[in-house]
């Protein structure tokens, strides 16, 4: 049911930008946003809130990432899930479950399942943001979000690209190339879900979207709120961090 794939958590990690520069055509804008967001290492503390009409649930986690291909997420709260870890290398994903002291490699059938009961799916971690490769881009307008002027860019998937969206529309801030909003549409042009930056701030010496909400269009009252508590960038992280063996040693 909840099949909001592709960006999600990856986007969270990517909602990061550096200093200013100029870019004019939409592909260059996306390239610049991408360049600022990825290709380096980061360590973040993030809280996650699952909001449902009748209840909410909070989780906290720490994440490590290096380059495009490697990331590791460790759940730090609540107590029941504490120590649970997810490792992604390329398109593969493993889950360490401390209560049973086992590592499970997630099979394809699990990839579209909800990630820890949130509005994200496991697949959201695995897919690299393919905005550049898989889509053609068109600048369609400008709008001000969170008091920031932004370009509106429409992305249409290339015929052979393995993406499910009919189109994606993103709002990229003109000043710092932050992605302020992304709306994902199905083939008939109806929106499926929205990623909405709610707060922008400086963390770890960078401008970041520090609070982002995932809003499934068809389920009013449902959302997942991701807030970055702290972030460090360009810290050397040894490759051994991103191994199955290391996952079990995290605390």
């Amino acid at each position: 049911m909840k099949t909001f794939r592709q960006t999600g958590m990856a986007t969270l990690i990517l909602l990061v930008a550096l200093s200013e520069s100029r870019a004019q055509n939409p592909s260059e804008i996306l390239q610049e946003a991408d360049k600022r967001a990825r290709g380096e290492s980061s360590i973040m503390e993030v809280t996650l809130q699952v909001v449902r009409p009748t209840w909410t649930r909070e989780m906290a986690m720490r994440s490590w990432s290096k380059g495009q291909d490697r990331s590791l997420v460790l759940v730090t709260a609540p107590a029941r899930e504490r120590g649970t870890a997810f490792l992604r290398v390329g398109r593969e994903m493993w889950n360490w479950i401390p209560s049973v002291e086992r590592t499970v490699k997630l099979p394809p059938s699990m990839m579209s399942q909800s990630w820890m009961g949130t509005d994200l799916t496991n697949e959201d971690f695995v897919r690299e943001a393919s905005f550049l490769v898989d889509y053609s881009h068109r600048l369609t307008g400008e709008e001000t979000l969170l008091n920031r002027p932004a370009w509106i860019i429409e992305l249409t998937p290339k015929p052979e690209a393995p993406v499910v969206w009919g189109k994606v529309v993103v709002w990229i801030g003109k000043e710092d190339y932050l992605q302020l909003r992304a709306v994902f549409y199905d083939e008939v042009g109806e929106s499926v879900y929205t990623l909405e930056a709610r707060q922008v701030g400086e963390l770890g010496g960078r401008m970041l979207a520090t609070r982002v909400e995932v809003l499934p269009t068809d389920e009013p009252g449902h959302s997942t709120v991701m807030s970055i508590q702290s972030a460090q960038f360009n810290i050397p992280i040894p490759d051994e961090t991103f191994t199955v063996r290391n996952m079990s040693r995290l605390r």
Binding site: T3, S109, V163, F184, V192
Partner: protein, 405 residues
């Protein structure tokens, strides 16, 4: 001989009574043949869709059907496929790449079985090309990566011709691979387990994505003589000791159970119809004997012995049965010929069945051997059921019998 003449005359002396018996026999024969043709039609239809989905024999490496791992390929599968194609007992061969994976659209993610097939092979082996009810078959599709899904599957999940879907599965190295496909056609086989979860794509497209160029997971065989399935399978088992060779019976215990229960109900129904026929004949003959009490008493008084009277009645019955047989068989042949073309729509008798979108029309068929089998069964029933009335006739006391009425 003389008895036969008397019996013949007796038959004609009571044309109406004879007509009744002839009709009873032909009716029984017709009923029996019709029931068999109906059952055969029903079983054929189910088996055809069932076996078509499975084929007669499937070859995998051991464990494939449980694990569905991408690297469980048949060693030198294409070579084996070509060898099997030359086997005179094999009518058609289909070599397939299979994967369990997900079909994703923007809104849904569905568990599916992906079959990478060769359009030509599949046309010959499973008639897949004829099952396309909307759109076009794999080899007529424009553009790259065409896919076929079941009509019901498409309807249930909001897919239509031209819809773009992303298929995700494990590739040969165990990593997750995916590719975009476009729905070129919708098919309908009538087998829910195919129609609701199998996606057909071209093997040539899938092998690239899976990293399994020129490899296959499954070789399905359709035999020229379906009866030979066990023989052919055991030969193949000896020739390919490292592979698992399975027949449709082994692969689908449900189909086997269906065949069993159908045969069983056919046998029971036949038995009941024959019993009904038997009772009818017994009663009619008993009436006839009652009516003929005077006549038989007379014959006895004239010195005809009981044995001869018994034989006479039996002969009469036999004549009537022989007269009834061609009529019944002819009627059955005509009925089956007509209904075999028009079919019997069961939805007319079962509320709500039409709404299922499944085949509810049964086309009766009858093979020649059944005519003889039923003929013998009906004749035996008729003769057996005339024995009791004949015996009854013999118990008559001649003096009393003449006096009656």
């Amino acid at each position: 001989m003389k008895l036969a003449v008397i019996a013949w005359r007796n038959v004609w002396r009571h044309p109406f009574r004879s007509l009744i018996l002839v009709s009873a026999v032909s009716m029984g024969l017709w009923a029996g043949l019709f029931v068999i043709s109906f059952f055969t039609g029903m079983v054929d239809q189910k088996l055809r869709t069932g076996i078509e989905a499975i084929s007669h024999i499937q070859i995998h490496v051991p464990g494939f059907r449980d694990d569905f791992n991408a690297n469980q390929i048949v060693p030198d599968g294409m070579i084996l496929t070509e060898e099997l194609r030359d086997n005179p007992e094999v009518k058609a061969v289909a070599a397939r790449l299979l994967a369990r994976g997900m079909l994703a659209t923007a809104r849904k993610s569905l568990g599916v079985e992906i079959r990478g097939v060769s359009p030509d092979e599949e046309r010959a082996a499973t008639n897949l090309s004829d099952k396309v009810v909307e759109g076009v078959y794999l080899d007529e599709a424009p553009g790259r990566n065409p896919a076929l899904v079941g009509e019901k599957f498409a309807r249930d999940n909001g897919l239509s011709l031209g819809s773009r879907v992303v298929l995700t599965f494990q590739d040969a190295s165990g990593e997750i691979a995916s590719g975009a496909f476009r729905l070129a056609g919708l098919y309908k086989t009538g087998d829910a387990r195919i129609d609701e979860q199998v996606v057909f794509v071209r093997r040539s497209d899938l092998q690239t994505l899976m990293g399994l160029m020129g490899e296959v997971h499954q070789i399905a065989l359709v035999l020229s003589l379906p009866d030979q399935v066990d023989t052919v399978a055991s030969v193949l088992r000896i020739e390919n000791p490292d592979l698992r060779v399975e027949t449709w019976r082994e692969i689908s215990p449900e189909l086997n159970l269906f065949l069993t229960t159908a045969t069983q109900s056919m046998t029971i129904t036949m038995g009941i119809i024959l019993l009904g026929l038997g009772f009818g004949i017994v009663n009619t003959m008993l009436m006839a004997v009652l009516e003929r009490v005077r006549e038989i008493g007379m014959l006895m008084a004239l010195g005809m012995n009981r044995r001869k009277i018994f034989t006479m009645i039996l002969l009469e019955t036999l004549i009537l049965v022989l007269a009834g047989c061609p009529v019944g068989m002819g009627l059955a042949a005509v009925t089956v010929a007509i209904l075999g073309r028009t079919g019997i729509d069961l939805s007319a008798w079962a509320e709500g069945l039409a709404g299922w979108g499944l085949d509810t029309i049964v086309y009766p068929v009858l093979s020649g051997s059944f005519y003889w089998q039923v003929l013998i069964m009906v004749a035996v029933t008729a003769v057996l059921s005339s024995l009791y009335p004949a015996r009854k006739a013999l118990k008559l006391n001649p003096a009393e019998a003449i006096r009656s009425k």
